[in-house]
């Protein structure tokens, strides 16, 4: 592991989101709320999404605790989710996952916005799960929203 890898891991933008997370807090009237934890390290988040009738994210917030990578990643994710449809949000999750698995092309994708600052995590295999925690919660949230919509008893 080199100095360069370490400084690319702990970029200022990541530290800034870690110190001052965006959209941190509960969301009264959330459409869906998902708790996601990494039992190996104890990192956890609770993601709240408020969706409109067209599955568009009106608001996204989180509460949680954990390492700089997991908390900065979910903070950046909530910023990026606002105004996106669930399909767009899931595409973002997929793109981000590709970047975590080393795709240079994904890392150049402007759709990821600030999340691209997390590119350096891909060089630290044990930390990739940290960066994906928020997106795991997002995917679970989408699954729940859609299974509710599918079920006859659901809204």
């Amino acid at each position: 592991m080199t100095e360069i890898a370490l400084s690319s891991l702990y970029q200022q933008l990541i530290l800034e989101h870690y110190r001052k997370p965006r959209n941190k807090g509960v969301l009264p009237g959330a459409t869906v709320e998902v708790h996601m934890a990494n039992p190996v390290c104890g990192d956890e988040i609770r993601l709240h999404l408020q969706l409109d009738g067209e599955e568009r994210v009106q608001a996204a917030t989180f509460i949680g605790q954990g390492c700089s990578i997991s908390q900065a990643s979910v903070s950046m994710m909530t910023v990026r989710l606002k105004g996106k449809t669930l399909d767009e949000a899931l595409a973002l999750a997929e793109r981000f996952t590709e970047m975590m698995h080393g795709s240079r092309e994904a890392a150049r994708d402007r759709k990821l916005g600030e999340l691209r600052a997390l590119q350096g995590v891909s060089k630290f295999p044990v930390r990739i799960k940290c960066a994906l925690l928020g997106f795991d919660a997002l995917q679970e949230a989408a699954k729940r929203v859609r299974s509710q919509a599918d079920s006859p008893a659901g809204g």
Binding site: T2, V40, C41, G66, C67, S68, R127
Partner: protein, 425 residues
């Protein structure tokens, strides 16, 4: 440390240079420590998770496979005789290492976890009944919790917990109220893996026996660091792992009083553990073989035996003095780090384990940055989630020392923490 300042200071610096010479000598025995990580000599401070292996152990395993390997027991040929002698010879070494008079009281297992599972399962099956109680503590590693949860659920027994004080000691004055005629087993660690706390086993054993219960000691962190004498400890079961005391992974030992082993039902069935097999029933081999179904980990046993010899050669008194010096130095230096929170009791009540948290930087970030500097520590809950809950934290960073760590390693750790602070401010 209590004398007048100047002479005490001189003695302290003498002790530190002795500790560094001791560590440097030991390091030569460990090939894995002769490497650089992140462009710097590796500082390995993850010994509570697993220790590195000396040449003596690596060579014993390789020599066994090169020259002596066959299946053990019942073999009529030369290699089977040699393999059996190596396997049983290693059992005698580990028995001696644990202070057990009778090698038949030592059962080979995959490690401490399997040793505790063996007791929870086989003793539980034989003796544990509905309404019985098992006393544990919130200091325990998951390996000394989950097997008892499983056994209690099977039997309809109840778990009771001894709590910890603010420095991670067992609240022993509450033990009497937890013990009753319903108590079947008390299972406690010798040394806490998360905090390093050394528990007064002998004192506990007296109280447990006075209540008519049995005492199992999880010795995963005890056997590597403390002189073990199961008779003096007064426990009924003692479990240890090879890999935490310079031996290989996948091997461990359960020491138990012979009459308990004789009364307990077998743990697993198969070859090696039987005497006579009929269509509908079998009779069991003598202890300890009754608990060793299937072809055992012979090379592992040989390695653990070699590790016991290696540590005996170093000497427990020398090891303890060395570790104390390094631990005291580490606690002093770490306590002076700005924004640090240290967990666990003072040096004279613990082994070489230091769990800590830094303000502003998460335990995992600390471990990642230290790793970039070639300093290996562990971060997480250390398989002791009840300890983490007790202190109201999700994770800590943990540095744990062994014979090959000197005060210079502590200096590297503290330099690494300065770097963490430079990044996280």
């Amino acid at each position: 440390m209590n004398g007048p300042a100047a002479p005490a200071g001189a003695r302290v610096s003498d002790r530190r240079s002795r500790a560094n010479a001791f560590a440097a000598r030991a390091r030569r025995d460990f090939p894995a420590l002769q490497q650089e990580v992140g462009g710097k000599p590796l500082v390995y401070l993850d010994n509570a998770a697993s220790t590195q292996k000396p040449d003596a152990v690596i060579d014993a395993i390789a020599d066994y496979y090169r020259h002596d390997h066959a299946n053990v027991h019942r073999g009529m040929h030369e290699l089977a005789r040699r393999a059996t002698e190596a396997y049983e010879g290693a059992r005698r070494k580990v028995a001696r290492f644990l202070g057990a008079a009778d090698p038949a009281e030592v059962v080979w297992t995959r490690g401490t976890t399997e040793a505790i599972n063996l007791v929870a399962s086989a003793w539980g099956h034989t003796f544990l009944r509905e309404g019985d109680e098992i006393v544990l503590s919130t200091q325990e590693h998951h390996s000394n919790l989950v097997p008892w949860q499983l056994a209690a659920a099977r039997a309809g027994a109840r778990l009771r917990y001894l709590e910890l004080d603010d420095e991670g000691r067992l609240l022993l004055d509450r033990l009497p109220e937890l013990l009753s005629p319903r108590t079947g087993m008390v299972a406690l660690s010798h040394v806490s893996n998360a905090l390093g706390t050394v528990n007064p086993v002998a004192e506990i054993a007296e109280q447990v026996h006075a209540a008519g219960a049995l005492l199992l000691v999880d010795g995963a962190q005890g056997a590597p660091h403390l002189p073990i004498d199961v008779a003096a400890l007064g426990c009924d079961f003692y479990a240890a792992s090879g890999h935490k005391m310079c031996g290989p992974t996948g091997i461990g030992a359960l020491w138990a009083r012979r009459e308990l082993l004789e009364q307990m039902e077998p743990y697993q069935g198969g070859g090696e553990m039987i005497s006579v097999v009929e269509r509908d029933y079998s009779t069991w081999a003598e202890v300890p073989h009754k608990f060793e179904a299937g072809t055992p980990n012979v090379a592992g046993a040989v390695g653990m035996g070699a590790a016991a010899d290696y540590l005996t050669g170093i000497g427990h008194a020398a090891l303890a003095e060395h570790e104390r010096t390094v631990l005291e130095y580490a606690l002093d230096r770490l306590a002076a780090v700005d924004g640090i929170r240290l967990f666990g009791p003072p040096a004279d009540e613990r082994c070489g384990v230091v769990s800590f948290l830094l303000d502003h930087a998460h335990a995992h970030d600390v471990a990642t940055i230290l790793d970039a500097d070639g300093v290996a520590v562990r971060a997480g809950h250390h398989c002791a989630q009840l300890v983490m809950k007790h202190f109201g934290v999700a994770a800590t960073s943990r540095a744990s020392f062994y014979l090959y760590n000197g005060t210079e390693d502590v200096d590297r750790l503290v330099e690494g923490l300065d770097r963490v602070k430079a990044i996280f401010g």
